[in-house]
């Protein structure tokens, strides 16, 4: 194998028009996605949007109704799971209850007929890698949730798969452990260079870990791209609302051809979008909560608003505002907590570049 050449190389995983229906439900409605060697991709979306189904199609547990899946350029659509060069970390780990930790981790090598002594060595190394030295003789039932998670990881990674699939692997852990595992997983992935496809419904988790986020909605891919791009330039209301706190404003084109948001008396001008604009054209603009800042009334385009709620999330405050019937959110650093109180009348403003106009079809 030669090192993959960026861009020009064959994608490691090539998913084309994969569709799967369960009765009337289209769990996957034609999904196409390419994933490159060494990428860390997060499949993100609300519960029921088809993330697990897509992952199970890749792993081979679910046969798609139509479409094609190739790994390394080889069509694997018809291959059973045990012939595919990938491994999975299951949602509830699926550790074998009747085997010890060592037997669980050594399961893959044993299936390939690796000699016992060699398996023992590899198991020790894999357990050391996930920080579980000394746990080999235990049963899964004698481990905490976090430890079980590590065993599941070791059991998959010991096979040195080209591709590792993880289905909400951190979902059952408490917040602190989850944050710690997020970093560990990320480091492990960087060190091993294995491609990770990681399912989560937690946008923060996806942002923390992934090189690229694939946002799914109702069995289709809504948007795919690097975290920063999805955050800054979501392509639809759904994506904008799903990731971070977004203020969505209705924009209407004035006779002069400029898009404006009308809030109370003010009419805020949006930057001109590239696509054709005409009188009466309406679009949606997105403004991140952190783009808003308190202002004085004399600042041009400042909007008057009433504070409805102040939520302190520790380190940051989220100020909910009512601007002439339009709900807005403003995020400030935590030391600003004392500056706001419900019922207070303030002015807020933002720089025009912060307003992202969603593409036309998203309206």
């Amino acid at each position: 194998m030669t090192a993959p050449v960026a861009g020009a190389a064959l994608p490691l995983l090539d998913i084309r028009d994969v569709a799967k229906r369960y009765g009337r439900v289209a769990a996957l409605a034609g999904v196409s996605l390419e994933i490159g060697q060494g990428e860390f991709v997060a499949l993100l979306g609300p519960s029921g949007c088809g993330k697990t189904t897509l992952l199970r199609c890749i792993a081979g547990f679910v046969a798609p109704d139509s479409g094609m899946i190739a790994i390394d350029g080889i069509d694997v659509t018809a291959l059973p799971p045990h012939r595919r060069p990938l491994n999975t970390v299951f949602q509830n780990y699926a550790l074998f209850p009747h085997m010890t930790v060592a037997e669980n981790v050594g399961y893959g090598p044993a299936r390939r007929g690796v000699p016992r002594a060699e398996i023992a060595r590899e198991v020790d190394a894999a357990l050391a890698m996930v920080g579980l030295d000394g746990f080999a003789p235990r049963r899964p039932s004698q481990l905490s949730g976090g430890q079980q998670q590590r065993v599941a990881l070791a059991r998959a990674l010991i096979n040195r798969p080209r591709l590792l699939l993880l289905d909400e692997p951190l979902g059952a852990l408490d917040l602190k452990l989850r944050k710690q595992m997020q970093l560990e997983l990320k480091r492990l992935q960087a060190r091993l260079g294995i491609t990770f496809v990681f399912v989560t419904h937690d946008q923060e988790e996806a942002m923390t870990m992934a090189d690229r986020i694939v946002v799914m909605e109702g069995g289709s891919i809504a948007q795919a791209g690097p975290a920063t791009e999805i955050y800054a330039r979501p392509c639809s209301r759904f994506v904008a609302g799903f990731i971070g706190e977004a203020n969505l404003l209705d924009l209407v084109a004035d006779p002069d051809g400029r898009l404006r948001a009308r809030i109370g008396g003010a009419a805020i001008v949006a930057p001109l979008s590239g696509s054709g604009s005409g009188v009466g054209l309406s679009r949606v603009g997105m403004l991140r909560a952190e783009a808003l800042r308190p202002a004085t009334a004399d600042v041009p385009d400042a909007v008057a608003a009433t504070v409805t709620d102040v939520v302190d999330t520790g380190g940051q405050v989220l100020v909910h505002l009512d601007a002439a019937g339009i709900a807005l959110m403003m995020r400030r650093l935590g030391d600003a907590r004392a500056a706001f109180a419900a019922g207070q009348r303030i002015h807020v403003a933002w720089s025009p570049e912060a307003l992202h106009v969603l593409p036309e079809q998203a309206g």
Partner: protein, 287 residues
Amino acid sequence: MTRLPAFLGALRRDMPWPLLAAPLLFFAAFFAFPLAVVLVASVTAADGGGLTLAHYARVLLDAYHWDILWLTLRIAFVTTAIAMMLGYPLAYYLVRVVEARWLRRACVVLLVIPLFTSNIVRSFGWMVLLGRVGIVNETLQGAGLIERPIRFLGSETGIVIGLVYILLPFVVLTTGNAIAAIDRRLEEAASDLGAGPAQRFRTIVWPLSLPGLLSGAVIVFTLAVSAYVTPALLSSGRVTVFSMLIYQQYASVFDFHYGGALSVVLLVATLLLLWAAAAIDPTRRRT
């Protein structure tokens, strides 16, 4: 010694007597006490005299009894083995292969009907089937497989056929339960790790269903060892199993001392084998 009163106090305070009084008294009076009476009779002399082990000597020093005990155990072993071999595939088939819910339910009903029907009735069916001019012999002869009718009735084979038939549902139900409880995701995990269908069965399904199979086997074995009706009906008086010896003593010879010793021997043999089965149970969790 000062702890004893405290212990008794704890007994009095913690025992939920209103709930336990009736069941405890009843089981003491009509279960524990009768068994104790048998035990006592087995070690007292027939003339009402003192303690003696003569009855046990009579049972244990007589090769005839050992032959019968061995025959009884052999029948029970063979019955258990066949019931396991037939029961496991059927259980697997019903849980994993049959997809239609109604069909599986119908099969469960068919499995359970024999359990709800007396041993007599079920054994009687086999008497009709296995007789000299029974349908099995007629079919075998008609097909030219045998020339003269095989004597099933009055042979060990006949008894085993009848016992397997009667006890098979226990294996199917316990094993089926265990297979139904296996999380399919474990097999998915195994196949994800490279295991083909045969390996998945050997490494996942088989070890996880083994406890169910074994608990079914224990039920079958204990019931087969102590079965009376089926052997009595299908032996035509030609084969004697241990329970028949006991019955004779209590129902026609009226030697409660000798009968008691026989009962205790059967009881102890059963308990020993159950204990051994529990001790060698390969599925026991190591801790």
